[in-house]
Every structure is written in structure tokens, then in C-alpha cells.
């Protein structure tokens, strides 16, 4: 039992060390972007990654944000009386539940489920079929072609997803207010009340969650993909391990940051 715990701890430690190594490699490769040729190939691959991880997630993001907006405002009405003078409380409830906690968490889960597993599968498949040899044959750096686009696109995607998710949630929660209320609260009033609740610290924390969380998720997906060996089942195992690690790390990051700043 104890030896199993020790083995798991060693494995988790080696994953963290590997991810820190990838972070170092990414930072070390950044100066290559000063060369115009490298920059134009990076830009092409970055746009491709951003499109796949950020923009193509818009539909699922919209559906979940709509449902959440409806749910949150229904719950708000369950605990706060239905009256125009309580608009600040509606906004506060929305801000605490959606903006601080559930919005970032669900956006991160969507990024892990859609894009991170796709990156792990792509890299794992390439590793399985020795396609990195093909990259060596044309003398291109795998760090610039695979690592940097993910390293930059994942945090940007997560930030876009936070923003987009919150926007949709605001609109659908307002739709619920319209449905319950007999007039009196306009969309402008509601947005003004929300903005009054929002502090610089909350914006900074959300950005930190997107930046650190996006990097962590992206680097972990590459790390697990790159560690695929010779068996076909290694790819599915890599995706499974990668998602488990990412979910754990992203939850810890979210809860940790919220705990440190808000409580």
C-alpha cells in the first residue's frame, strides 16, 4: 500500500518536473521568434491552434453558458426576493457564482475535453508512427512547431472562452430577469450593476487562472502525448492520464487562487 503511494507520488513528481522542463524549453525557444521566417511559420500554426481550441469551442460554450445563465438566475430568485431594488444582489450573486468560480472552471473543462485531448492524441499518434523523424528530416525544431503554438494559444483560448462564456451568461441571466420581472430592470441597468460588482482583483484573478491554467493544460497535453511509446493503447492511456492530471491541476489552481484571494 505504502509502496504504491510512493510510486504514485514519484510518477506525479516526474510529470511536474517534465512539465516544468517543457515550460523552460518554451521560454528558451521564444527568442527564435525574433527571426522573421520562424515568426511566420509560428503565426500560421498559432492561428490554426487558436482556431481549433478557442473558436471551434464556441458552440458548446454557448449552450453550457445559456443553461448556466438560466440556472443561476433561477436560483437567485429562489433566495433573493423578486424586486427591482434587489438588482445589486442579483449582480452580486451572478458575479460570485459565474464570474469568479463556475465560468473559469467550466471553460477550463471544455478546453481539456475538446482541445487538450486532441493535442495529446495528435502528438501521441505522431510519436507512435515516428513522425518526429519527418520533422527532423526537414530540420525543423519540434519546440517551435508544436510547443510554442500550444503554449501561447491555450492561455489565449481560455481567456477568450472566459470572456465569451460570461457574456452569454449575462445575456441569458438577463433573459430570465425579463421573464420573472414585470419590467423595471433594463439590460443597461443590469450590466451597470454587474460592472459595479466587478473589481480589478477579480479581473486579475480571472486572467491569472486563464494564463496559468491554459499553460498548464497545454504543456500537460504535450507532455503526455510525447511520452507515448510503441503500443497503440499508449495513445488512449496518454489521453486518459493527461485529462486526469489536467482536471486535477486545474481544479487545484482554481480553488487555490479563489481561496487565497477571496476568502
Amino acid at each position: 500500500m505504502l509502496s504504491k503511494i510512493g510510486l504514485r507520488a514519484r510518477r506525479s513528481g516526474s510529470v511536474f518536473i517534465g512539465i516544468i522542463g517543457l515550460l523552460g524549453l518554451a521560454i528558451n525557444t521564444c527568442p527564435q521568434l525574433l527571426k522573421p521566417q520562424r515568426r511566420r511559420i509560428f503565426w500560421l500554426l498559432f492561428k490554426r491552434q487558436l482556431y481549433n481550441s478557442g473558436l471551434r469551442a464556441a458552440s458548446i460554450n454557448t449552450i453550457i453558458a445559456m443553461l448556466l445563465g438560466i440556472f443561476v438566475m433561477s436560483k437567485a430568485y429562489a433566495v433573493i426576493p423578486n424586486n427591482t431594488q434587489f438588482i445589486d444582489y442579483y449582480a452580486q450573486f451572478f458575479n460570485i457564482v459565474v464570474n469568479r468560480e463556475i465560468g473559469p472552471l467550466i471553460s477550463g473543462i471544455i478546453l481539456i475535453a475538446r482541445s487538450a485531448s486532441a493535442v495529446t492524441a495528435e502528438v501521441g499518434q505522431m510519436q507512435l508512427y515516428r513522425q518526429f523523424d519527418a520533422l527532423s528530416a526537414v530540420h525543423m525544431s519540434p519546440a517551435l512547431v508544436f510547443l510554442l503554438p500550444v503554449f501561447f494559444a491555450f492561455p489565449v483560448s481560455l481567456m477568450l472562452m472566459f470572456f465569451y462564456f460570461n457574456m452569454i451568461c449575462v445575456l441569458t441571466s438577463f433573459a430570465m430577469i425579463e421573464l420573472y420581472h414585470e419590467g423595471g430592470i433594463t439590460l443597461v441597468d443590469y450590466i451597470r450593476a454587474l460592472l459595479q460588482q466587478l473589481t480589478v482583483v477579480e479581473v486579475a484573478v480571472s486572467m491569472a487562472k486563464a494564463m496559468v491554467g491554459g499553460c498548464l493544460i497545454g504543456l500537460a497535453s504535450l507532455y503526455f502525448g510525447y511520452h507515448v511509446e510503441d503500443r497503440f493503447t499508449d495513445v488512449s492511456r496518454a489521453i486518459s492520464n493527461s485529462n486526469t492530471f489536467q482536471l486535477f491541476a486545474f481544479f487545484v489552481l482554481n480553488i487555490g487562487l479563489s481561496y487565497l484571494v477571496y476568502l
Binding site: 511566420r40 519527418a134 528530416a137 517551435l144
Partner: protein
């Protein structure tokens, strides 16, 4: 100056010795064919010359520069290997497998790259395959795409791994015709592995791997 110098090369995988004291010198614009059998090290020979494998002993020198000391930019200008199988990244189209390395290593515009790729693809009769993905190609088409990429890069030394395998007579004649015309106009050297039934009559020299060394074929 020799285009390629493989001096006293020893290569071993686990306990299997592939090359022992192998030597090969290629002059500029020289074409050398190496007849290979099963698992006798033909692909490994090309990978050594391309810098994709490091010998256990010996030196690989292209145009006076040791392969191990070259930057990736210098290697790009020095050699390009056309693989017998694979060699293309599955996440890009065939066209981008050729265009992206050029974007990466050179100042060429996308238009200039297209102007270099398309006529050669047309000459090799594989233009319609450019927008497909690698998994949509059969073995022969994959080898042709690898060959096209190597020719488009215009390195000093082309390394072609069993490029003639599996081709119909007409296809092979056309491919060799295009290759030899390009080779004469660009002046690159060619090291090509061949197998039973392949043509070698166009080569300046034909060698065979025997006992971990290269021997001339009379």
C-alpha cells in the same frame, strides 16, 4: 572538395553491427546508387548522411562541414532525405509538408514557394495529390511526395531511399527523367538506394553493402 564524405563509419543497433569502417566519398553532381537487400542498412546509410543518425565512430562531412557541427539552417541547405515510407507529417496537407519547411528556413514568399512546387509536381504527375493529406496516399505516392519535397528544397545532396520501388514502368521512366533533368540544372549530388529490378544505369557509380562496408559493383 567532396560533396559528401563518410569516413570510417561504425554503426551498431543494440548488439547488431550495421556498418564497420564504412567509407564513401561523393563528388559534386555525382549520382551514386547503392543496391540494398533486406535489413542491410540502406536506410541507415542515408540517415547517417542526413544527420538523422549519429555514428558510433567516424565522421560525416558535407561540403567540408562536419554534420554534427551544422546548425539546422546549414543542414537544410546541405541535405534532404526522401523516405521510403512515411516521412510526412499527418497534421499537415501534402502541400504544407513541402511549403512549411521552406517558409521556416528561407525568405521565399508563399507565391514563390508555389511557383517552385507546382511545376515540379506537374512534371512528376502528382499535382492532384498536393491538397490531400498524407494518409490518403499509397506507398508509391508517398515516395513521390517525399521526392518532390527533396527536389523542391534544392539541397546540395539528395538522399533517396528506394524511390523507384513499386512504380509502373512509365511512372519510373518519367520520375527518373524529371529527377535527372533537375539534377543537371541544379547540380546536386544524389545518393540513392535501390532494390531488385530498379534501374541504376543512369548512375556514375553503383555500390552494394557487403559485410558492413560499401563495395563497387562491376
Amino acid at each position: 572538395m567532396m560533396r559528401l564524405k563518410l569516413d570510417d563509419i561504425t554503426l551498431q543497433f543494440a548488439d547488431k553491427a550495421i556498418f564497420q569502417g564504412l567509407n564513401l566519398h561523393l563528388k559534386p553532381a555525382e549520382i551514386v546508387c547503392v543496391q540494398t537487400g533486406v535489413l542491410d542498412g540502406g536506410s541507415s546509410l542515408l540517415k547517417l548522411a542526413a544527420g538523422l543518425l549519429t555514428p558510433d565512430r567516424g565522421h560525416v562531412v558535407v561540403d567540408g562541414l562536419a554534420m554534427k557541427d551544422m546548425t539546422e539552417q546549414a543542414r537544410f541547405g546541405a541535405t534532404c532525405m526522401a523516405f521510403e515510407a512515411g516521412g510526412l507529417l499527418s497534421i499537415f496537407t501534402n502541400y504544407n509538408n513541402i511549403a512549411f519547411p521552406l517558409l521556416y528556413h528561407t525568405d521565399m514568399s508563399k507565391k514563390a514557394i508555389a511557383q517552385r512546387i507546382e511545376p515540379l509536381a506537374e512534371a512528376l504527375q502528382i499535382q492532384s495529390l498536393l491538397q490531400l493529406e498524407p494518409h490518403q496516399l499509397n506507398d508509391v505516392q508517398t515516395r513521390m511526395m517525399n521526392l518532390l519535397r527533396a527536389m523542391v528544397f534544392r539541397p546540395k545532396l539528395l538522399l533517396l531511399d528506394e524511390v523507384q520501388s513499386g512504380m509502373s514502368f512509365e511512372m519510373r521512366e518519367n520520375m527518373l527523367n524529371v529527377l535527372l533533368t533537375e539534377q543537371q540544372s541544379q547540380g546536386y549530388s544524389v545518393l540513392m538506394t535501390t532494390t531488385v529490378g530498379d534501374r541504376t544505369d543512369f548512375a556514375d557509380r553503383t555500390l552494394a553493402i557487403t559485410g558492413g562496408k560499401l563495395e563497387p559493383i562491376q
